[in-house]
């Protein structure tokens, strides 16, 4: 269902969408059946002259069966959904493949700062590239992100990745993703963080290895300013808010 609206751009996005599809089918069938029976009963047993209602207490086993069998069936389907859901959850949040590169994501009121590993591929070295509101990654690479907040709760959400993680001040929270499609996509803040909550959009740029290399060299050599003009985080936001392109 999300795939009707949002493309799948990470390795686990199809898993999430398939889980949602499974739930949709199961829940959809039950929903339609319940509503259909419900409306049919309203129509069938509408008040008619001379026809009295029946006295059905629903206490005998025969009568109770009409309710208890569906209710056990619900339990069975719940367990099925549970198994798949836990598997998907585990893949996204608990067990992760080994990282090929790390990246640091820092949220604040009201902008995102990204610390990229730079040409040496190692985070927290001298050649790290810091950007504001633009995250640059390479398609097909497995990234671990370290998520921080400078002030209040924020949340790092990349809908096309089907990825979301709250940023908690005082903590460094780790997650992972592997982009599978190149392009430029939205990053949204998914936890109300004050007046500028809707004013801190960011972009993730997924590039081919060549393109990514080109960006790395340009950024490292200073040809492309690492931080967008203005340096202060708020300025980039304002520029975007005034329609200054994507």
């Amino acid at each position: 269902m999300p795939s009707w609206f949002m493309q799948q751009a990470s390795s686990f996005a199809p898993d999430v969408d398939n889980l949602i599809l499974l739930i949709t089918v199961i829940v959809g069938v039950w929903f339609v059946a319940a509503e259909a029976i419900f409306f049919w009963l309203i129509w069938k047993f509408r008040a008619r002259d001379g026809v009295k209602a029946q006295y059905v207490a629903g206490e005998t086993p025969r009568e109770k069966r009409w309710v208890s069998w569906p209710h056990y069936a619900v339990l069975v389907f719940d367990i099925l959904i549970l198994v798949v859901a836990l598997r998907v959850w585990n893949d996204i949040k608990i067990s992760a493949p080994p990282p090929e590169e790390r990246i640091r994501v820092v949220a604040q009121q009201w902008a995102w700062t990204f610390q990229h590993a730079g040409p040496d591929g190692e985070l927290d070295t001298a050649d790290d590239i810091r950007t504001v509101d633009d995250m640059h990654v390479e398609v097909g690479k497995t990234y671990y992100f370290d998520l921080h907040s400078r002030d209040v709760l924020h949340s790092f959400s990349v809908p096309v990745f089907r990825l979301k993680q709250d940023a908690v001040p005082g903590r460094s929270i780790t997650g992972w993703f592997r982009p599978t499609v190149t392009g430029e996509f939205d990053i949204q803040c998914a936890e109300i963080c004050g007046i500028g909550h809707g004013l801190m959009p960011a972009r993730i740029i997924v590039a081919t290895p060549d393109e990514h290399q080109a960006w790395l060299s340009a950024a490292a050599s200073g040809a492309v300013p690492a931080v967008t003009a203005g340096a202060a985080p708020g300025t980039a936001v304002v520029a975007r808010a005034e329609g200054d392109g994507q």
């Binding site: 609206f5 949002m6 889980l19 949602i20 739930i23 829940v27 929903f31 319940a34 509503e35 419900f38 009963l41 309203i42 047993f45 509408r46 026809v51 009295k52 209602a53 006295y55 059905v56 629903g58 206490e59 009568e63 009409w66 309710v67 208890s68 569906p70 209710h71 619900v74 719940d78 959904i81 549970l82 798949v84 859901a85 836990l86 998907v88 959850w89 949040k93 608990i94 009121q109 209040v152 709760l153 949340s155 959400s157 990825l163 979301k164 709250d166 001040p169 005082g170 903590r171 939205d186 949204q188 998914a190 936890e191 109300i192 004050g194 007046i195 909550h197 809707g198 004013l199 994507q246």
Partner: protein, 577 residues
Amino acid sequence: MSGHAAAHADHGHHHQSFFQKYLWSTDHKVIGMQYLFTGMLMALIGGFTVYVFRMQLAFPGESVPLWGTVTASDYNSLVTMHGSIMIFWVAMPVLIAAFGNFLIPLMLGCDDMVFPKLNRLSYQIFLISVLVILSSFFVPGGPFGGAWTAYPPLSADPAYNATPWGATLWLVAVALEFVAFLLGGINFVTTAMNSRAPGMKMFDVPIVIWMIVLASLVFMASVGPLIAGAVMLFFDQRLGTGFFDPAAGGDPVLWQHLFWFFGHPEVYVVLLPALGIVAEVMTTFSRKKLFAYKTVVFTAIATSIISFFVWAHHQFVAGIDPRMAGLFTVTTLIISVPIAEMMFVYIATLYGGSIRLTTAMLWALAFIAEFLIGGVTGIFLGAAGADVYFHDTYFVLAHFHYTFFPIAFIGTFAGLSYWFPKMFGRMMNETLGKIHFWGTVIGFNLIFIPLFLTGSGGDHRRIFDYSLFPELEYLQPLRILATVGLLILIAFQPVFIYNFINSMFRGKVAEANPWRANTLEWVAPSPPPHGNFAEMPVVYRGPYEYSVEGRDEDYWPQNVPGDAPGEPAGQSAGQVA
């Protein structure tokens, strides 16, 4: 208790001033009406807030009639006030305190609550909480803008939330509201346990009473940690402590646990009374016994207990241990089982019935149809793997409005249409009622079906303007459609307001039991006098003995003695015992 009522009537109350009779009364019916009218007024305010911010969402940046331009700060305050008001000052007072106060003594066959003065005090504290939250609209910085969930550090530090006065006033108002409901709960529980009419055993009690009592118990058992948390947050806001401040060694996530430990059971606190109302209406207008009454009671109890073990499904991506999240997925999916059972039982009640589609019945049936949508969409959110995508999107919002709106509004309209004759001694207009019904239901669905779609499309919550997100621009027509739905919904509410007020004074005079129902409130006159019953009723059977075989009448009130030998079967031996 029987002789008491007769003596009670001769109290010498006949020369009460308006103030004594309507504002300082200890009579449960008056207190119930006080809660009802206050809740209805707050609904207008809560509705106004959503009108303003949905206009902003549909036409970003444009001036909203009756408000002006909506700034980002306005927006946050409006959504915060909308959620807080609707839950704490509309749903709870109307469903629990209004219907609870009005119905419990009447349905149990007694003359008032056990502690009438405490009852009055609970309303007064509630009223103060109303004044406090309304005052926050007029303070510098405006009302609190940190969402009804009030997560710190945003809510703890005015430097972050820019609503310093509003934040503390919100906290004080919520705390006072909690105290009011804790006090009110004392009456509900003790009256239900100790003041039942002679002959009324536990399983002869109408379902709505069971539900309101259970709701009070769940509220009491769940609100404590949040009261503790509120004290801590207040100290953080005002006294420089750091309970939720990482710099001081505190933990923002602790608040979330304290909040949701209450917040999740809270939704059942409001759901149960609504389900109770729906049961009363459905049985009366299908002339059928409630299917498997005992199952309903046990299922309600099971749901209440399990509701204490699901809270962290609101926090799947909040930074909790992901393995804990797995555990809460299990419990959350488990709770869908008793709720599903409840739905099945209600649907089964229709089987073999003789269904009359009065306005009240339309509302009760709409509750089931709409709540089913809310219920099934919860599965997407309870399954942690799917929630990663849906968390904080409009999908969540649409889900909880498909539960909350049926609970707070559809359930209320069902209850008001049904008990209006008893409350005011007059009948509401059925035609106007049906017009209001269809306009409301159509408008409601027109709001939230588009929002399921925008949520699936990636619209996150609490964003005041989506134009900064290129991937979301194409969803704007759906946002506009949702706002149009809201305008339609709003446009039909004056029909109800007119019907309600006009019928109070000029409706057709109602008899004691216009719906030919079984429960004891219909034995008292419409409206019941102070003291309720001329003679306290005695109960001979359960509340849902409709269409009993071999009887002429298709109903058999609880207070009518069994047929004596020689009497023709089915002759109701007079309504008033």
